[in-house]
Every structure is written in structure tokens, then in C-alpha cells.
Amino acid sequence: MATYRHYDELDGHLTDELLDDRIVEQLLAGRLSGERPDLQELSVFVTALHSMPTTLPTVVRPELAAIFETGLAPGNGELSPVVADQPIRQTPRSRRMLKALSAFVATLAGKAVLGTATVAVGVGGAHAAGVVDVPGLPDRAPATVVDAPADDTDTPEQGDDRSGRPADPGVDGGSVSERSTSGEPQEDGKAFGTSVAEEATDGTPAEDVANQGDAAQDQQPDTPAPGADIADQHRPDTAGGADAADDHRPDDPPVGRP
């Protein structure tokens, strides 16, 4: 700053003598003609400064080119969609769902549901394995669920209604299975087989069901021998699919159908 003082402060009175406002305006307007020969060079400088901005930028950025092409987007002050979309990244749907699921599990209600469902699956599995006898549950509950694909009129909602009692593993096992697959290992293979079988009630063809069954088999943790046997019974491909399911059909009405 000290280097500028000479012009800024010390010679302040001299600047007023050299240039008053009228002269300055004439100079800036390029109308200083012969009146002040001592300002001719300064006049050249002002003219040069006036004529300096004559060229457009040699490069026009894509954002601007897009605006010239399409204008702005209807939104207030937003760039056209082509440009505006670039920095915006949508969160993947799976990620959003996982977040929502995590948030739900984090709540008290979520924990209660998860706990109840886990207990229900465990009890149901134990019952099916013959370890525990739970009154009101069919002896071969999982089999009835596998019957569902043979009956194409069933919908997932009906499947839920069919096993609508809270303690029924057919219900909660189905809803919790998604969480269970990513979390704790199942107590036995039957419960897991049940949940996969319920997924198959969406009206998928028998082959798809069989594939899902295979997939479920692949996903199954080490299962005790009795559980594995029963799970095998559920798999359509192991017993001819619908034929095997027909064997279980007599059990259906008492279990699920309203």
C-alpha cells in the first residue's frame, strides 16, 4: 500500500488541479479536443481501454452452449435438464430400501416385530421338526405352504391371511425371512424352507418355483438331518413338483383357507 501513497494521498491537491470533473468526463467520453494538449497521451490510453474489449471468448463452455441451444429449464434459474442432471446422482433403490429397513429395525416396534418373528420361526421350526409340540399347528405345516403353487389362485396376501395368526410361523416366517437371510442363521432348515416356499406362492410357474427352491437350498445354512428331509419334501423337483404337493393337499383347508 505504501507504494501507492504517492498518488493517493500526498498529491491529492495536485490531482484536482490537473483534472477537474468536467475534464475527466470529457476525457472519458473522448471529447477532449485540443483543449488540453498535455492530456493527449492520457486520451490515447482511455481510447485504448475503450477499444480493448472487442473479442468474444474463443471458447464457449458446454453449459453455455446448451443454454444457447435449449434455453433454461422451466424451473426457476435451473439449467436445462441435460446439464442439470449431470451432478445429480440418485441413490440406488436397494440402498434406500435398506436404509428404510434399518430405520424400522432401529425402532422399538421394529425390534418387537423382529423378536416375535424370530421366536415364531424358531417355535414353528421346532414343531415341524417334532422337537416341540405346539397345539394348533399342523403336523406338517410347511407342506401346506408348498401346496400353494399348485393352486394358482393364491396370492401373497391370501397366503398371509391363510396363516394370519401372529404365532403362526407361516406368517411371520415369511415376513421375517428377508431379514433372516441377511442376519442370524436359521434354527433349522424347515423354517427357512417355509419362507422360500411362501415366496413361491406368487403364482410363479413350477419350474421357477423349483429354481427358487434350489436357490433356497443353496442359501440354507447347515441343517440338521430331519430338517433337511422335510425341506426336501417341499421341493417340487424332488418329488415331481405338483404331484408331491398333491399329497399334502388334504391338510390345506384346516391350516390356511378361511
Binding site: 495536485l14 498535455d38 490510453f45 485504448a48 474489449p53 473479442t55 471468448p57 464457449v60 441451444e69 433454461l72
Partner: protein
Amino acid sequence: MREQGSVTPQDEGHFFAAMLAAAQTSSGWAFEQVFRTYAPRVRGYVRAHGAVEPDELTNDVFVAVFRSLPKFHGDEAAFRSWLFTIARNRLVDERRRRARRVETVPEDITDSIEMSGGDVETEALANLGGEWVTGLLGQLTPDQRDVLLLRIVADLTIDQIAELLAKSPGAVKALQRRGLVAVKRVLDQGVPLERPVDV
């Protein structure tokens, strides 16, 4: 009767109003017209301020201007004032960025950018004039330089500059006068810069 082909300030005002209205309804051609009309001045302004990449900075300014254009209300003079306020802010940002990066740019890089495109001879002459002018401007305080550039290149009034720089009109007038006197002194002393004889 008016001379054929001459454009009065009223004509310019009407033209600007039509252009602005079209741009605010998102007509691409109007944006381009605004750019063609004002980009040279903005480029000259930032270049005279010593911007390393005047083209890039000018693009920046107009992207910002166009984003906010739908909200702008005012006449051509107000638009110019607004435009150069944005240009000045961008310039300040660029300087801060440069100061943080602490990078050294070879002197001939800016020359090669300027020389690219257009009529080479004209560009070369303009560069000589530009160097002379920017060399003289470099002798001024930042405030004096700012005022002279806003006054001459941006064609703003004393009041507009006062508002832009948050100073009183009297202070702006004083800076303008002192800036011109400083240039005159340097010229009188014989500036070791090339004179734009051919420009």
C-alpha cells in the same frame, strides 16, 4: 428524420428489453445474443484485471448470470451493473483460488490463449495494445484500477460504481481522478512499455 442505420439509446433500450424478455422466457437465441453483446466487455474487464484465463472466467460469469436471469428486473444499465458485479465477484474468487494454489504461470501462456482463434494479425495488435494498457493499469492501486475499468470498459456511471464498490460517489470520483493522474504521470515519465502505435 433519423439517419438510416443509426441506433439511438431508445432503440438500444427497446432491443435490450425485448432480448431480456425473450431470455427470461428461456429462448436460447436471446441468451446467445446477451452473450454476444456483453461477453467482450466482461472478457476485457477480467483480462485487464490480470485474469489468468479470461475466457474461462467470462464463461463462468455468464453461466451464473443466465442462471439468475429469470429473477432479474431492470433496464439495460441495471443489467450491466448487475453483470459486472457478478464478474467482479468471480474475479475475486479466482484470485483467492489462485492464491491458495500458489501456482506459477509462464508469461507466454496467456499470450498463446489470446492468440488462439480469429484474425491473427488483429489479435497480435490487440495484444500489443492490451499489454500497454494492462501495463499502465498495473501502476494503479487496485481501487483506482477497479474504478477506471468499471467506468470505461463496463461503461458504468459513478453512482453505479459507488453502489457496486460500496463507496460514496465522491470517493469513486476521487479514485477515478487519481487513477487518471497516476496514468498521466507514468506516461509523462516515459513508460518502459510498448506504445500501441499501430492500434
